[in-house]
Every structure is written in structure tokens, then in C-alpha cells.
Symmetry: C2
Subunit: 328 residues, 2 copies
Amino acid sequence: MSKYTPVDLTFSEIIAASKRIEKRAFKTPLLRNDKLDQLVGGRVFIKPECLQQTGSFKFRGAFNRLQLIPEADRAKGVVACSSGNHAQGIAYSASLLGMPATIVMPQDAPKIKVERTRAFGADVVLYDRANEDRDAIAEELCSKTGATFVHPFNDTGVIVGQGTVGLEVWEQTRALGVTPDLLVSCTGGGGLTSGIALALETLLPECGVYTAEPEGFDDYARSLAADRILENERKAGSICDAVLTPAPGENGFSVMRRRAAGSAVVTDQQALEAVAFAISELKLVVEPGGAVALASLLSGKIDVRGKTAVIILSGGNIDPELIAKALV
Amino acid sequence: MSKYTPVDLTFSEIIAASKRIEKRAFKTPLLRNDKLDQLVGGRVFIKPECLQQTGSFKFRGAFNRLQLIPEADRAKGVVACSSGNHAQGIAYSASLLGMPATIVMPQDAPKIKVERTRAFGADVVLYDRANEDRDAIAEELCSKTGATFVHPFNDTGVIVGQGTVGLEVWEQTRALGVTPDLLVSCTGGGGLTSGIALALETLLPECGVYTAEPEGFDDYARSLAADRILENERKAGSICDAVLTPAPGENGFSVMRRRAAGSAVVTDQQALEAVAFAISELKLVVEPGGAVALASLLSGKIDVRGKTAVIILSGGNIDPELIAKALV
């Protein structure tokens, strides 16, 4: 088993992950909102992963991945690098499994994410997003202690964990007698989106899966168009901190190459307006990076008129100052 | 059928209401939060009625009650008086049924509630909460047009509609194999709390139902202790606008006299802290009046150590300025 591929990217691994995490992960609900439907002219189902353990979908992949570590290696701990949500997912998962955790986080990560990661008992190592290589820092930490490195989106054990979101979307829409035409997911490195796409490839093959990204960090949109992995020019500089990754992960991209139906790119302002809409209309607290899928509908970047759509609100760990800014 | 008692307060009327509203009311989820459980030392299930149509549970009672109006009388319209959430529930229900609606609202109601009520197509008549009698204003409007007056909490058709919250709590906890020891509900005039209590009298008779109110508006706590209806001295002056009623409604009180297990009273500051907790930890937008049940647990006014509790977050229509204030 290679470092980034502890499991194969198959549907049955998503089922296995689902069983592994069901003890602690929440089955988030599938919500509706009449005003949203009226605004976009379609029928929209909202999957609020902001209500997940640690406030984002990341707990699913993290909790699944850590349980894949052999018992004998768990005491050596886990190392992860993350803008914050993966950090919390790993830190909480590690605490539940009694494992030490060290998290490499960017200096400009929202304070709330750093604080919460520490609150779960993890050690936090800060780095400069523009000038340092977080993966290199993490690998060095691992080589010293024998800890397991868990990549936030390129690890297949993480991807199949995130894929449980797709499994639940299928279960929940099926229970309602609904077949979605499309699903839009917030996309950074693509762990969530590719995990969902993998699940729906088996369960809802007719449902188109769309990526949603912030302007300047549209690596998935460009990579899918070019059919090869392209990097972002910038490494920082958007309020959508949760989805600012250098480039698509190879493993997720391998799924999205065959599964992506399209890509949407929204501005920071549109993401912020989606945050405000979520608070005032949906009564849900969503962070900007977790609101880009919603923004892609509200801005008209993805047209759902007459269609049935599912959107993922991927996380809700937003600083109070940014909530205030969004509501002005 | 008298003005305030279009139906009897029986369990079967709650079932009938459930069938009547299921076309448009959401079955709100039952959520968990590990941090909340850790803080209070118990197992807490959260029923977020802020996610309901129009942002509060009030839609349930309103939509049920309006369907009880004979077809021949519907064109004459409906009149209601409300601090805001009942207003929106009535206004939206009326728009769905094609009925004209006039809402009598206090001048100090949150702007957002007045705006939303108008956005649903209702006429709004403002009055002075401290010096005018809203019921008298509403009755005069009805006598002119033949419209049906729908009291926000003393109408039994409204109460059994709110009781569908209790029905869902039973269904949802049962599906999880859980029997709650107690349930805490935000209480103004008592329509929601008595509706739930009525449902649980049949479904979960062993589950204690507690009222939660803000300081200065503890009419239910005092009335239950005295075993007779007592009024509040003040008519205004709390941020918990959703639950500021003059006194318990007779019909709801008749249920609560035999069903109430206890009462909690929290300060405005505790309600505001619960709003902040809901935003930062639960990722849910809750208004102060809708957060008093949560506040009663967080403040320790209701002790749930070692117990399984259900709390109702009754509404989420909060002005942005107050969100900012809560997060400071």
C-alpha cells in the first residue's frame, strides 16, 4: 500500500468507509428552501456538511483514513497539513482513536481553525503559505517519528471517506423518490468532489457532477478543460481558504476526468453573498469556501432552471469578523 | 366551533394536522453536537425549527389552521397579530392557499420580520406594544371584512399544528432507538410547548416537558407554580422578541397544567450567548427567543447530566445587527 493509495478507488471502498465512520460521523440531513428554489428556478436539495462533526465534511475522510492505519502504527501518531478543516477532522479523529496528531497549518488560516485544532489536543506547526512547502514540512515530521502522513485530498482512504456524502445523497434522494439531474460540490484539491463522483458513478450515473471553485483558484476547471493537471498561479489571496489548493490531486483527478459534467468559477464577492444568503435564508452558517457551490447557483454560473440539483455546503468554520462582513 | 377552538386538543388532531401540512412543511432533522454533549454532560438531540419554512415552527400551526377555514370563507382572508414569526407563517400559508392576509405587528418587531411578512404579500398594520391592544385591532379588522382571526398561540388549530414537532421528535428518536428523558421548548404563549406536550402525552408519556422563557417574561413558570394564569408585568424590553407574550394562552395552559415537568428562566445575556454558541458550534442561525431552550441547558438552569434531552430551536429570524452583537 503506497502512501497516497491505502485503498483502491472503488465503490465498495466507499461502502466500507461508510461502515467504518457511522459510529461517529453524522448523517447530515438533506434540506430544502423555497426561496432558493424560486430564485434559481429549479428544485435544489442542500447537503449541509457544515453540520458534520468538526464543522465540515473533512471528518469523514479523516476518521476513515485513520482507522486504516494498522493498530501497531497508531501510537506513532498522524501528521497532516491543512488550511484548517482537514486539520480539525484529523485532530478530532485522532483524539477519538487515542492517537497523537501534529498539524501543519498556514499562518493565514482563520484563527478559529487554529484554535479548534489545538482544542482537539493536536500540536500545530505554522508555515508561510506563499514561500514554504507544507508537504515537505510534514514529511520531515513523519520521518522523525514514524507517524503516518495523511494527505488532505490525494489520499484514497480520505477520498472514499468523503465519498460517503455521495452515498447519503443517493439514499436520501431515493427515499424521497427523487433523481437529481446534477450535483455541485465545492472543490479544492478534489477529495470531496471525486469521492462523491465515484459514489454516484455506481448509484446515480445519470447525475452530472460539477466542480465549483473561486476565481484565481480554478485549477480543476482548467485542468478538466486541458485534460491534464494544471497548477494555480497564486497560492493565497482569496477568502475561500478552505478550497485554496495548488492543483488537483492525481487520484481525485483520475476520477473527475471521466466523471465531471462541468465546472463553475465564482468570485470572492459571490461566495460572500452566498454566505449571507445561507445565514439569512437557509439559517445555516457556511464559510466562503463552503459556499462556492451555492454561489454558482445564485450567480447563475450553473443554470438549474427546470432541473433537480443537489449542492454541497462543505463547511461552516468561519471567523465572526467574516460573518459580520458578509452581512453588511 | 368557537373562535379559539376550531378543533379539540387531542392526539388524533395532531395526526390530522400532520397530514394536512406534510405537502409543504419540512420535516426538520434531529441533530447532534459532540461539544454540546460534553459541555452539559448529557446526550442532547437538537430539533432546529429555524430550518422550517419561513424560519420558524410557526408555519406548521399557521398552515394547518388556514386549511381548517371553510373554502367559502377563505376569500375573505385572514388576520393575525404577531411579533413576527407567526406573521410570516400566516403570510406564507395564506399565499400558498391564495388567501389575502393582514398582519398586526408591533412597531419594535425586528425589521427583517416586517420585511419578510410584506414579501409574502401580506398587508402589515403596525401598533405600539406598550400602549395598544393588538387583539382589539385585529378583531376590528375582522369585523370589517369577515376575515378569520387566527390567534398566534391560543387557537387550538394552531396548537395541534405545532404539535407535529412532537410527533416528529417521537418518530426520529424512535428510529434511533432512543427514549428521551426530557424535552425543553422555547415558550411564549405556549402554543408550541403545549402542542408538543400533547403529542408526547400519547407517544412518550415518560418524557418530561420543560418550558424555557426569558427573564421578565416568565409567565409560564409563575403560572405553572401558581396553577393559574398570571400575566407578565412588562409587555416589552427583551431581545427575545419571539417569546414576549402577555400571559399563557388558556388552551395551551390547560395542557401544560397536567403535563409540565418544570420551567427554566434565562437572562437575555444567556440567550445571546446561546445564539453565539449556535452560530459558532452548531452552525445554525437562531434568534434569541428561539435559543432560550438551548440557553437553559448551557447555563445549567436545566441539568441534563447523564440524561437524554431534546431541545427545540424554535426560530432563526434574527437581524444581522444582533448576530454581530452576539458574536462580539
